[in-house]
Symmetry: D2
Subunit: 255 residues, 4 copies
């Protein structure tokens, strides 16, 4: 994944922080869609880049919207997802990953699930925006690093979750869970597996945004996990807590 700093100055500060952490790998000259970028590895083994220079999409005249503030014309296919909402990644040690993200990259931890004694972090939801989470970290169940739990798209209505579920059933896309509403973030959800096996979430209602500059991390106890995970709807299936991609064999990542 690639993250964009808020400014060239912010990029310089973040690269310095990453280098100080010993996790930096150095600059690359650029790639499709972006310029110079700094690579680094997170404690959980995710290889990321941080950058400032991006290439904005060039939209062909025929694909332009009638709205000058919309990047391209709304398509007439499928359901109109609007943006990537967040990523959810696995980490063998969620607290270590969270600390790196907070210290080196400026993330704010918005919500967390803790052991009942409050001593250890089990899972963490973080953001650098007004969203309740741009990134979530869940525990890695296999002897593997760098695995992906899901990517989430924002839809904009709960009606869309029913529409999308119907399309998935009719067009051979496996549904994993939902619709329902999470306690954490108060977002509504539908989970699918795309044909390659990766888990996809669609959020209908993005829940409450965070505008309080003094917002304190909401800490759920492990014993409150059922409500934290699902406020309304059916409890998360076992697969949600065990399945990530790429797959592992005998507990070891194979791709």
């Amino acid at each position: 994944r690639r993250w964009r700093a808020r400014s060239p100055q912010a990029l310089a500060r973040r690269v310095a922080a990453i280098e100080a952490s010993g996790r930096g790998r150095g600059w690359i000259e650029g790639d499709a869609g972006h310029g110079r970028a700094y690579q680094f590895d997170t404690p959980a083994g995710h290889r990321w880049e941080i950058l400032w220079d991006v290439d904005y999409a060039v939209v062909a005249p025929a694909e332009r919207s009638g709205l000058i503030n919309r990047a391209s014309r709304r398509p007439a296919m499928g359901v109109p997802a609007r943006r990537i909402d967040h990523y959810n990644l696995t980490a063998p040690n969620v607290a270590a990953e969270r600390d790196f993200l907070v210290e080196a990259l400026g993330f704010m931890e918005r919500e967390a699930v803790m052991t009942d004694d409050g001593a250890a972090t089990i899972a963490s939801w973080l953001s650098v925006t007004n969203l309740s989470h741009d990134l979530a970290l869940v525990p890695e169940r296999a002897s593997a690093t760098g695995r992906f739990h899901h990517v989430c798209f924002y839809g904009g209505s709960n009606e869309m979750l029913f529409d999308l579920a119907d399309l998935c059933r009719e067009h051979g896309i496996a549904l994993e869970h939902g619709p329902g509403r999470h306690g954490i973030g108060k977002t509504t959800f539908l989970y699918m597996l795309e044909p390659g096996g990766n888990r996809i979430e669609m959020v209908g209602d993005a829940g409450a945004m965070i505008f309080d500059p003094a917002f304190e991390t909401v800490k759920w106890k492990a014993s409150e996990l059922p409500t934290a995970a699902v406020w309304t709807g059916t409890e998360m299936p076992a697969s949600f807590w065990s399945y990530a991609t790429p797959p592992v064999e005998a507990g070891v990542r194979v791709a």
Copy 2:
């Protein structure tokens, strides 16, 4: 338009009633999608057919739904309109047209707009089902007969009206009015003009159904027309009351 009787016996009774009215034209041997049908002309000049035998759609295996009670697989294009909801036609004499529909075809008048003294019917909404209207009649403003005001499709959510309006703006379909909610029938609406110029309505919420076997016609006064036409939203535009298809020139139908 073609109407299907409730049974072969009902067809025989309706044909007898039409013949007695002097408006029958006789049987035809069948056409694409249906068998033997009886043609007739309504007082307002609409040429209709009534029949019993229909050919059910044969759906190719690749287009079958995963639901055995759904006719074909839900498509992934556009918005998922479910059915034709109703037709709206013009009549130079709405009362005469309504009387024919009630007497010869068994329609029930559900709602009507009357002159304030209650003496004359200005417009009429009729059904043979639990819907508040399968057919509506509005006054013909030109010296023309047999003209079409609009056909309405049922969508199923008000969210869809916003989706459809957005698609129309982006894909060059003229919007005439809405979204809003009618007083009559309490349906929500969006009106468009298809590229050929005919008016199309999409209903998001189909309003209240009628289950009372002793239901009495709801009679709105002409002075209540603003509320009857629009309960929430902007009043209907002038074009709604004047435009029908095919077009007229100097007040005379030209196609």
Copy 3:
């Protein structure tokens, strides 16, 4: 429960049919909200009445709607359920109950779940209207008769199912299942238990209506039950198949 015939003549025909079945109990002189009614017991032990004369609600001026075709002003509390959609009752012998309803009362069986060999009916959905079901019959699991599975209200949007689920969680009403979409009837659902213990369903989208006068019963195999019960969402919980009211002790109804 009480059913209203379509006309005084239809009432006379239905009473004659019920008497011929040997299940009639005779006329009562009327009760709150209705006049003379004929009582009878169904094979499954439900005591019902059929009648024509009903008292229409008298609405105080302060509670009248601004719409002349709406019975009373929309309240500002809770979610705006519009009407009772259907009842679901248990029957020790679903086929016998269904046959009585069809023969004596004129119901049409719209969908059914059959044993895989097609020999026996397990559950049945019936209507006398354009709705896919006004009444559903599910097997009685206890040694009891006359038990109630649920009553369903119609809401009008899937957004409302999320709103209602949220209100239930916040105000101490037990949620049993949903939201999701049934295969049978294609309705969306949310199931709750009211404080007295009875199951309540709310339908957001009422699914497809039936307008075909030659509609044939859709027959699902027992092995297709997962799709018949839930098209999108989580499979029905075990309680849905076992819990009905009033409660039973040691398999015997106690209230």
Copy 4:
């Protein structure tokens, strides 16, 4: 109105900038709900305060939510508005007001309507968050300053706009316009007048958020105003461009 700085340090920087502008009035010791605050007057005559110390709501146990991340239990009355979305204020000189907000308070101008030659700003939409606007400025039509155009609440679904419009009609609240979708911000809207005469907006869909740190102001030409104001729905009524509160008599503010 009161604005909260992002930190005590940010408060000090903003107060210094306001003082440098000559518009500061000095500190007050605090008031209901907040501590020490700095008062100032904007060029358009709005008296505002900026502060850091706020008192968080203390929620009685009976009003607590079942969700630890929700401030209080969702009420069962009316429609569940979630937060204030933005304010819209009038300014005799929009450009001067906008410049003060940008320079002294750190607002970013997200969208603007300009004269067709691009020389002058007619109206402006600004934010300090990921929302497309926290504050909007429209031209003052009367010889008055410090007037209020509307406050907007966020609802969360377009279905709610229809629900709210229905409630307003039934409960005597004047509707001014909508539902529809703005071009600017791409938000959906419904406008009402509360009993005291102030205009209230409800947003169903909050439109696109802004995550690009290099986002450039979207500039609409005056000739594009119809699309900028209304992407789908009916054009804004004349009252929208002339009515603000408190009222003016003979062009002069009277309250």
